[in-house]
């Protein structure tokens, strides 16, 4: 039996036959499909327009391929920030009701956080969604990637993705312990800096090695999330006991348990599988890192940067889960945000928000002088909650610092970890978090 990557194994399972990288699949059945309120409304309208006559011809009512495999998650600019956005959410909600699709509420969370926290996506599954950061689910050991509107409408109809080439894999073998004050975000910004914005194009970024094994799930989500910034097809991490513990807990919140069938879906790369490239990364050499304007791949050690900052955003699908808020709260506890800086905190989901409230983190942020908003994508989408003016400088824990991403094309965006964000909020300039970490804190 020839060896295979986790990606090849997942596609082989879905196809019921052995496939390898480079194979062209005419129709790939997808296990899970989710939509945000940006692309959901036009995808629904196109689905009705392009396929209704086919259903009518066949004597059937317009019906999605399988409502239990689909979810709608309004998250980008909620609570709704415009009449058109509200119309779109209404359209999704009416369609969801009519079709029996799960519709989440505004504020339930960012789609990629909900998808994992609600165990909507499971290890070994193929998941697609109308957002490039769908690759976040790779941390669960699922093959997950973004699609456009047209693929979304096609999938609503048939549950299949067409003309899919099984991607090759680039393996990142990460070893070494993190220095104090270094987290998953610093590691992935460092990797982006090495690879460049197009460095992993068309390939799956698979992360392995002792450093990845030692990361908690939140850190793994961060690493997979940002891998699309080097144009990876997606990212993936082989599932282990931490993955299964995370998924079991997520299932238990829905009064479900992990079945043998679910566990049987999970796959792992064989050690001698064929990788198109192997990149060795020494995590112990990574310093706290920021990416400077205007590219996520423009990574520099934080010790070399001290630019003034007007806005700090702690949020987004990249870095707003429990461990992210925990480290920021440790640094901000008993301290104040600089008079020259606004700190905006947006937890990644309602569950994370409520957890942060129950555990006193929201009070720490509020006492420090932060603005705290209900869960959504916030200013990372450049439409509401902290839009930047020309000349503004923002340090964000999100994933994209393109010119104009968060407002004016003449603003400057820096990317960093929650620890860098907290230290920067205190100083009003890009700051090294290490001096604020409590003694003994890594």
């Amino acid at each position: 039996m020839p060896s295979a990557t986790i990606t090849e194994k997942i596609v082989s399972r879905a196809m019921g036959r052995k496939v390898k990288a480079g194979d062209l699949i005419e129709a790939l059945p997808v296990d899970k499909l989710y939509f945000n309120e940006v692309i959901g409304p036009p995808a629904i309208l196109n689905f009705e327009k392009d396929f209704e006559d086919v259903y009518t011809e066949s004597g059937k009512k317009l019906q999605v391929f399988n409502p239990s495999r689909i979810a709608f998650m309004p998250d980008h600019t909620v609570p709704s920030c415009s009449i058109k956005v509200s119309q779109g959410i209404r359209l999704m909600s009416d369609f969801a009701k009519e079709q029996g699709i799960a519709m989440y509420k505004e504020g339930d969370g960012i789609e990629h956080t909900i998808a994992s926290e609600e165990a909507f996506v499971l290890p070994g599954e193929i998941a697609v969604a109308t957002d490039s950061h769908t690759c976040t689910q790779g941390a669960l050991g699922s093959l997950a990637f973004g699609i456009g509107t047209t693929e979304g409408e096609n999938l609503l109809a048939t549950g299949e993705l067409y003309s899919f080439t099984v991607p090759e894999t680039i393996k990142f073998k990460v070893s070494g312990s993190f220095q104090r004050g270094v987290y998953a975000k610093d590691l992935v910004l460092h990797v982006l800096g090495t690879m460049g914005e197009g460095g992993a194009s068309k390939r799956v970024a698979e992360y392995t090695g002792p450093t990845i094994d030692s990361l908690d799930m939140d850190g793994r989500f961060t690493i997979c999330n940002l891998s699309v910034e080097m144009s990876a097809r997606t990212a993936i991490i082989n599932p282990d006991s931490k993955t299964f513990a995370y998924v079991s807990e997520a299932l238990s919140r829905r009064k479900m348990t992990m079945t043998d069938e679910m566990r049987g879906m999970a796959a792992k790369s064989d050690p001698d599988a064929a990788f198109s490239q192997t990149v060795e990364v020494d995590a112990s050499a990574v310093e706290p890192t920021v990416s400077l304007p205007h590219s996520p791949a423009n990574a520099k050690p934080v010790s070399q940067v001290d630019d003034p900052i007007d806005t700090v955003f702690l949020g987004s699908c990249a870095n707003a889960r429990e461990s992210d808020l925990t480290i920021a709260a440790k640094i901000l506890k008993g301290r104040k945000v600089s008079p020259s800086t606004n700190l905006l905190v947006i937890p990644a989901s309602r569950r994370v928000y409520n957890w942060a409230m129950d555990n006193g983190l929201l009070k720490i942020f509020a006492d420090a002088g932060a603005n705290i908003e209900s869960s959504n994508c916030g200013p990372c989408f450049g439409k509401h909650m902290g839009i930047l003016a020309p000349g503004d400088r923002c340090l964000s824990t999100s994933n994209r610092n393109y010119k104009g991403r968060m407002g004016s094309p003449e603003a400057f965006i820096y990317l960093g970890s929650p620890a860098v964000a907290a230290a920067t909020a205190i100083e009003g300039r890009i700051a090294d978090p290490r001096k604020y970490l409590p003694a003994g804190e890594s």
Binding site: S58, K60, Q63, S82, T149, S163, G198, K202, G404
Partner: protein, 178 residues
């Protein structure tokens, strides 16, 4: 099958879809032309007028054109400004597929540096070649046969309708719930 056009714009490497169409506009319309009216608004506002100056325009870029966000509106923004093709050294997958789905030709050649604004290009999908009629240089197009087929068809829609018809007819009572 041949397509012709005039090079109306040149871009550097790593043009992301946020540059092509800013996020703040994405939810404000379900009309594709709306996005063409705002193409490259914050990055290169001259884009629309330059492309609309020709009946059939072509955009030329370096590596990794269309990276970042999956927004298909980026393809509408380009296509509905009279653009028939984007010629670049590489495309990330999501943007490439979005192009195929909308009949905007994503043409990959290994080096675009010799193509200038104003050049007349002829794209021949059958022979997989791009001919710069102004400079007289021919370039082989890098593409799989499957991608060329989809470029000729202008997308998957007909195929997907057939697949759906087949699925619906295979299920006598109601649409598949498998």
């Amino acid at each position: 099958m041949q397509m012709r056009g005039t090079v109306a714009k040149r871009f550097e490497d790593d043009i992301n879809t946020d540059y092509i169409i800013p996020a703040a506009l994405l939810q404000e319309s379900w009309d594709k032309q709306f996005f063409a009216d705002h193409a490259f608004e914050g990055y290169d506002p001259a884009f629309g007028p330059a492309c609309r100056a020709n009946k059939e325009s072509i955009v030329v870029a370096g590596d990794n054109f269309g990276c970042g966000s999956s927004r298909e509106q980026a393809v509408y923004a380009i296509k509905y400004n009279n653009v028939v093709a984007v010629v670049a050294q590489s495309f990330p997958d999501i943007f490439f597929r979005n192009c195929l789905n909308n009949g905007l030709l994503p043409i990959q050649i290994t080096d675009t540096s010799g193509i200038s604004i104003g050049d007349e290009l002829v794209i021949d999908l059958d022979s997989k070649s791009l001919s710069d009629r102004t400079s007289g240089v021919d370039y082989p197009i890098v593409a799989t046969d499957a991608a060329i087929e989809l470029m000729k068809k202008g997308g998957f829609l007909g195929f997907v309708r057939d697949r759906l018809r087949h699925k619906l007819n295979a299920q006598p009572t109601r649409a598949s719930s498998q």
